[in-house]
């Protein structure tokens, strides 16, 4: 028995490729595929012709050749005799360093500002609104350049620290904020410091275990075990004890003015500071909006219900509001982290040697291998972005509302 909706019987006709919805999609896909191949073929043939005309080829051999330029900030060993690959790695680490530090500070500033924007204090509320709007609506490149100019112009130069009538002085005798960069004390790990560090790690594990235990006690037996003070105690006491038992193996190397500049300690270059600072406060403005939106997304009924159950305000925040708000806040927060990582490529504007500055800047100019370097550069950022989005997807799935 056939009904009207049955497809018409009969052989395959060529016109069905266009008119029959069952086959039409194949036609379109086939055309798209052909067009794609044709486009790539066209671009490829252009590429081959252009490379031939310029006497070039595609080769990654330059990565193994000595770079021949210096990088002023490096986390791993590098000299001008190292290879281009090594230079790219130094740049990549510098990118990651800026990104991680900026993410950290952006989160802190953003959360504080976001909470303050919801404050009942009219003045603070408006002030934070002004901050957010001003920073969100001006390009980050302009902020980076402004902050770099401010650092160089406003902070004292190292020579102003010198002499008896020095116009500038170090903060607490150990931090120097100069126009060239910041100098911090650097921890020096002497013999035996390994044990102190291990003790510290062990105490962190201990805190985690203890909190687990406390939670289990609460769930299984309904006993409230205090966690705050034992955690603080575990955090400090064993490490400090071990520090003195081992005879204070970790010391601090203070920066000191020698000649025209500071020596010793950790030196954070002004380009690094300016870039990190600018990225942090720029992105913090966006994060503040996300945080505000997240908290506002939780209906007041939740707060009231929690209060009617007899929870204290602090616990309402911790147990009811935050877990729900975080679900709203975290996905945009992570995409802001992604933005920081991508925006850190603007380092090239202040001369900070990140991967765009080394691989996409000097290496490209020196070797003239534009296609290879730009491809590598893109691959680097792509890998970072894709891995961050993968993490985000895992998180999103884990906090997704369990609908029943």
């Amino acid at each position: 028995m056939t009904t009207l909706s049955d497809p018409p019987k009969g052989g395959f006709r060529l016109s069905m490729l266009i008119n029959d919805t069952r086959y039409r999609s194949y036609t379109f896909q086939f055309i798209a595929l052909i067009a794609l191949i044709a486009a790539f073929g066209y671009l490829g043939s252009n590429l081959v012709a252009n490379l031939k005309a310029a006497g070039l080829n595609i080769s990654y051999r330059f990565l193994g050749e000595p770079a021949g330029y210096d990088i002023n900030q490096r986390l791993i060993e590098y000299t001008s005799q190292s290879t281009h690959l090594r230079a790219a790695m130094v740049g990549a680490l510098n990118t990651l360093l800026v990104a991680v530090v900026a993410c950290f500070f952006a989160t802190i500033i953003g959360v504080i500002v976001g909470v303050l924007r919801l404050s009942k204090n009219w003045l603070v509320n408006k002030l934070m609104g002004v901050y957010v709007e001003i920073f969100r609506n001006v390009p980050v490149l302009i902020w980076i350049l402004i902050i770099m100019a401010v650092f160089v112009a406003v902070l004292p130069q190292p020579r102003e620290f010198r002499g008896d009538d020095a116009t500038a002085s170090m903060v607490l005798g150990s931090f120097a904020f100069t126009g060239r960069g910041f100098y911090f004390p650097k921890p020096v790990f002497g013999p035996g410091s390994m044990i102190v560090v291990l003790t510290f790690i062990a105490s962190l594990v201990g805190i985690w275990g203890y909190r687990r235990y406390a939670k289990q006690q609460l769930f299984d037996h309904g006993r409230m075990v205090s966690t705050l003070w034992p955690s603080i105690g575990l955090f400090f006491v064993p490490t400090i004890l071990m520090f003195f038992i081992m005879g204070q193996p970790i010391t601090l190397d203070y920066p000191a003015l020698k000649g025209f500049n500071f020596q010793g300690g950790i030196y954070a270059r002004n380009s690094f500071i300016a870039l990190t600072f600018a990225l942090s406060i720029y992105t913090a403005a966006f994060i503040a909006e996300n945080v505000r939106a997240g908290i506002l997304a939780i209906s007041t009924g939740q707060t009231e219900a929690a209060a009617s159950l007899g929870l204290r305000p602090g616990r309402i925040m911790n147990l009811v509001i935050l877990p729900q708000a975080l679900r709203v806040i975290i996905p945009p927060l992570i995409s802001q982290y992604l933005n920081i990582t991508k925006n850190s490529s603007l380092a090239i504007a202040v001369g900070y040697m990140d991967i765009t500055g080394t691989l996409g800047g000097i290496t490209l100019n020196q070797t003239g291998r534009a296609i290879e370097t730009v491809l590598l550069l893109m691959a680097f950022y792509l890998i970072i972005s894709l891995s961050i989005s993968a993490v985000m997807n895992v998180y999103n799935n884990s906090v997704k509302l369990k609908e029943r």
Partner: protein, 431 residues
């Protein structure tokens, strides 16, 4: 009845007392201050810190503005006039104003052309932004791209006119054929447009002096004008491309879907600056040998692709937010895919995605300053390059950067306020 009633009452009020003003602590400015600024010790500390902060800024900025110098020719003269007082040297802005706006190569006797285009832009955009304006203004919108091109780049007026004629012919062919089949309409329209463009070469070449303005090559564009050109062009070009990408990503056709997915994820995964590197040094290798594309055109291509990927994701969000029933209802009415998209799905989906699209547009406009990194002289490029490097103005940071902030802030803030306003206007209460 008790006997209390029988005793005479000493006093009974028989008239209302006049209303008294609320106590000063419960209403009026003092109460407002107490409630909003000094409600508890923590709030008070916050208020005091905030007031101190505002004081710091005002006390620093006020003399700087008040003593500002507006009429000198170099920083040294500024310093002479100020004689050690705090004061801004705003004369850099007055002296270099045309450079900040138009770059340092645009012929100064032609400044009126981009200025007219700039103001015409507002007339052209107004009917798109505000529904209440007369619909006839849309004609200006349609003419604007061609007129603006003619004004800014110069050359014969025939070139933009022929481009417009090609598009009109294509549209007419499309409307004729679309009743037979949507695919036929599109292909026919495309072919007609390209044919007219190819034929028009025979008209424009011999008549290149017809109603011609002094031609200005692209590399002479600069200053804030360049940011504006890039921003407006790329946003308007990327909108249709972004919608197509979003539809492609939603499609059931695997190959098309994956082309779109790979394109979108790739573009969104890399920073714009690497795409600008591509425009600057790589794209030339992929173009036919011997052709020499303008840098500005290559940059427009890359930025358009960049923002199209972001707009595609926003539109995809809008498409996903629509109930599936809409598409099914359209199908059951007998509409084909193109019709149901054009008439049913996209109008609703775009409405939902307007705030996101506007956000992308603002972000894109801000990102146009990145072209200064590949040594194009947009606003930031002008400030960092020719102005700060000149002997007269070497060292004038604050005034210039403040100007840059003031160039961008009102526009971006205005657009984002507009999008919030529009969101409220479009909220129909049901989605």
């Amino acid at each position: 009845m008790s006997d209390t009633n029988t005793t005479p009452v000493a006093f009974v009020r028989d008239a209302m007392l006049p209303e008294q003003a609320a106590p000063i602590t419960a209403a009026g400015p003092l109460a407002w201050i107490k409630k909003n600024l000094f409600d508890g010790w923590f709030n008070s500390i916050l208020t005091i810190v905030a007031i101190y902060f505002i004081y710091l800024i005002v006390s620093g900025a006020f003399p700087w503005f008040y003593n500002g110098v507006w009429t000198t020719d170099s920083l040294a003269e500024c310093r002479e006039i100020l004689q050690g007082k705090t004061g801004g040297c705003f004369s850099v802005l007055t002296e270099r104003w045309p450079q900040l706006l138009f770059g340092f190569k645009y012929p100064s006797e032609e400044y009126w052309r981009p200025t007219i285009a700039f103001f015409a832009l507002f007339v052209a955009v107004a009917p798109v932004l505000f529904n209440k304006l007369p619909r006839k203004l849309l004609i200006v919108t349609a003419i604007f791209p061609f007129a603006a091109f003619w004004l800014i780049w110069g050359g014969s007026i025939l070139v933009p006119i022929m481009v417009a004629v090609g598009l009109i012919v294509g549209y007419v062919v499309f409307t004729r054929l679309v009743y037979q089949s949507s695919a036929m309409g599109m292909i026919g329209g495309l072919v007609a447009t390209v044919a007219v463009w190819m034929l028009s070469g025979y008209i424009t070449d011999p008549l290149s002096g017809f109603l011609a303005l002094e031609p200005v090559p692209s590399r002479d564009m600069g200053g804030f004008m360049l940011n504006f050109i890039l921003g407006v062009t790329c946003v308007s070009l990327s909108l249709p491309l972004g919608i197509l990408l979003a539809l492609g990503r939603q499609s059931d056709m695997l190959i098309i879907k994956w082309i779109c997915v790979v394109f979108i994820e790739f573009i969104r995964g890399v920073p714009l600056i690497t795409l600008l590197f591509v425009a600057n040094v790589v794209l030339g290798y992929f173009l036919p040998p011997g052709t020499n594309f303008d840098l500005i055109l290559r940059v427009i291509i890359m930025i358009t692709m960049f923002s199209a990927a972001y707009i595609a994701e926003v539109v995809r969000g809008g498409l996903a937010a629509l109930p599936k029933g809409q598409a099914e209802a359209a199908g059951s009415l007998g509409l084909d895919y193109a019709q149901s998209m054009r008439l049913i799905i996209l109008p609703q989906a775009l409405k939902i995605s307007i705030p996101g699209i506007v956000n992308v547009a603002v972000g894109l406009f801000k990102d146009t300053v990145l072209v200064s990194v590949i040594s194009m002289f947009d606003l930031v490029g002008m400030i960092r390059g020719p102005i700060l490097a000149s002997t007269e103005w070497n060292g004038v940071y604050w005034e210039l950067w403040l100007a840059a902030v003031l160039f961008f802030f009102p526009i971006c803030y205005g657009i984002s306020q507009y999008s919030q306003w529009l969101e409220r206007q479009l909220a129909t209460g049901h989605r």
